[in-house]
């Protein structure tokens, strides 16, 4: 236990086993991003998976939206300490997008419009753990929350759920993304409180 803070009782405490260590609940949906919100026209939008051999699989918006989509309800945890429980999304599972992609890569680097990147092991994108989401709470995903489409990887801190995602590069070796190069944890498991380097 840490140093006791004289006179601190805590006002928001409640039994919340869904909350990872160091997180607190919010009801709103805070926005965090490192730069301006990129403007992405649906007519120009595309999503690409590039394998380690250079093979590319590409979807424009119409082709992407023609894929079977799933509705999921998940808890999300931001490294800045807020968590939001039971959020409703609609998106295409990475399993669907990866169907037919030949790869032996162990790692993935998600790349976004605007230049953002984030890395994760490929297995964290598969088996029903990740989506490219285009609706939140029944509405088209707002630009400040990553619209037209963002990665959704709810079992990791939310910076891994890259906003404005435009593609995934499959890699034989791990390559740190934007925040992972700037002091944030390479993997980012909220249940192990992997916020920063060395956590």
């Amino acid at each position: 236990m840490g140093t006791v803070s004289r006179g601190f009782g805590g006002r928001r405490r409640r039994h919340a086993p869904e909350l990872p260590p160091g997180q607190y609940l919010v009801e709103d949906f805070p926005v965090l991003s490192a730069g301006p919100t990129p403007r992405v026209d649906l007519g120009d939008w595309e999503f690409t998976i590039a394998t380690e051999t250079g093979e590319r699989h590409r979807w424009d918006w119409a082709a992407f939206r023609a894929l079977p989509a799933e509705s999921v309800t998940v808890d999300i945890h931001c490294v800045t300490k807020w968590s939001k429980l039971g959020t409703g999304w609609e998106g295409v599972s990475l399993d669907t997008l990866m169907d037919g992609v030949e790869t032996s890569a162990g790692f993935a680097l998600a790349e976004s419009y605007g230049g953002y990147t984030t890395n994760l092991p490929l297995e964290d994108l598969l088996d029903g753990k990740a989506w490219v989401a285009f609706r939140f709470d029944g509405e088209d995903l707002a630009p400040e929350h990553g619209g037209p489409a963002r990665l959704l990887v709810p079992h990791l801190y939310f910076w891994k759920s890259a906003k404005w995602v435009r593609g995934i590069r499959l890699l034989d070796s791990d390559e740190p993304g934007f925040w992972e190069s700037l002091g944030y944890h390479d993997y980012g498991d909220p249940w192990r409180e992997q916020r920063y380097w060395g956590d």
Partner: protein, 250 residues
């Protein structure tokens, strides 16, 4: 010194409150001594952890307000009435108390004092805190880098660091500070009142041709609006860095 800011493991440290200073009726600066503090870059923040006697604990992030200064650190905390942590930090914590923190955190929203590129700082409300660390670092280094600070605030009563900003700008032609009042200006104010709009921003900011490094910090609505306006006015999105203070900061 500050180069090492994000390297290595971030351990929890027990800071000691050396002094507190009220900035406005709802904002207080905590002056902290932190043994072993590794130094920081202006714009970085710390995680603060409070722990109740029964072991319950909670964490929040706060921007560092001070320039690097050995083991001394200042945080300015805006009190949110429905918050859990900020009322404690601004109303209960007193000199001599311990405060657990770790940092510095964040390697993106930072200004390097050796960078001579003109700087545009745009602050909404308490978003001025990390930008003040940049202004103070510039002063401490006697940096010649031209800086413009556009500081949007509701009224004169909500301005943080008013006297210090006025003095810093008065003696330095390379530092310009413009206050934008969204609700009401001071007595005798003849300037506009209202949100920072396109024409005011274009008047007060560096022109895009000056290729300034832009730092925008404030509530999400402010940051979205100002960052979008800067892009509209021709600033390179890659040169605009943002940091947002949500109402959930607690």
């Amino acid at each position: 010194m500050a180069r090492a800011a994000v390297l290595g493991r971030l351990i929890w440290r027990v800071a000691r409150v050396a002094a507190v200073r009220d900035e406005t009726p709802t904002a207080r600066t905590l002056v902290l001594d932190v043994d072993g503090w590794p130094g920081h870059l202006p714009g970085q923040h710390v995680d603060v952890r409070l722990t109740a006697a029964d072991g319950y604990s909670t964490q929040r992030s706060y921007s560092i307000a001070s320039a690097p200064d050995g083991t001394r650190l200042e945080l300015t905390v805006q009190r949110l009435d429905d918050g859990e942590v900020s009322p404690y930090l601004t109303q209960v914590l007193r000199p001599g108390d311990p405060l657990e923190l770790r940092g510095p955190i964040g390697g993106w929203f930072v200004w390097h004092p050796e960078d001579a590129t003109p700087v545009l700082l745009a602050a909404g409300g308490s978003g001025v805190v990390p930008l003040m660390a940049m202004v103070r670092t510039r002063v401490a280094h006697a940096s010649p880098t031209p800086v413009r600070l556009i500081y949007s605030t509701r009224t004169p009563d909500t301005v943080l660091y008013r006297d210090e900003l006025r003095q810093a700008a008065a003696g330095d032609p390379q530092l310009r500070v413009d206050l934008v009042y969204t609700r009401g200006g001071p007595a005798g104010w003849s300037g506009p009142v209202g949100r920072l709009d396109a024409s005011r921003l274009a008047t007060l900011a560096w022109p895009p041709g000056a290729a300034p490094g832009c730092f925008v910090c404030g509530p999400t609505g402010f940051v979205e609006a100002v960052a979008n306006l800067l892009v509209d006015q021709g600033h390179d999105p890659q040169r605009i860095r943002t940091e947002r203070f949500g109402p959930s900061g607690g």
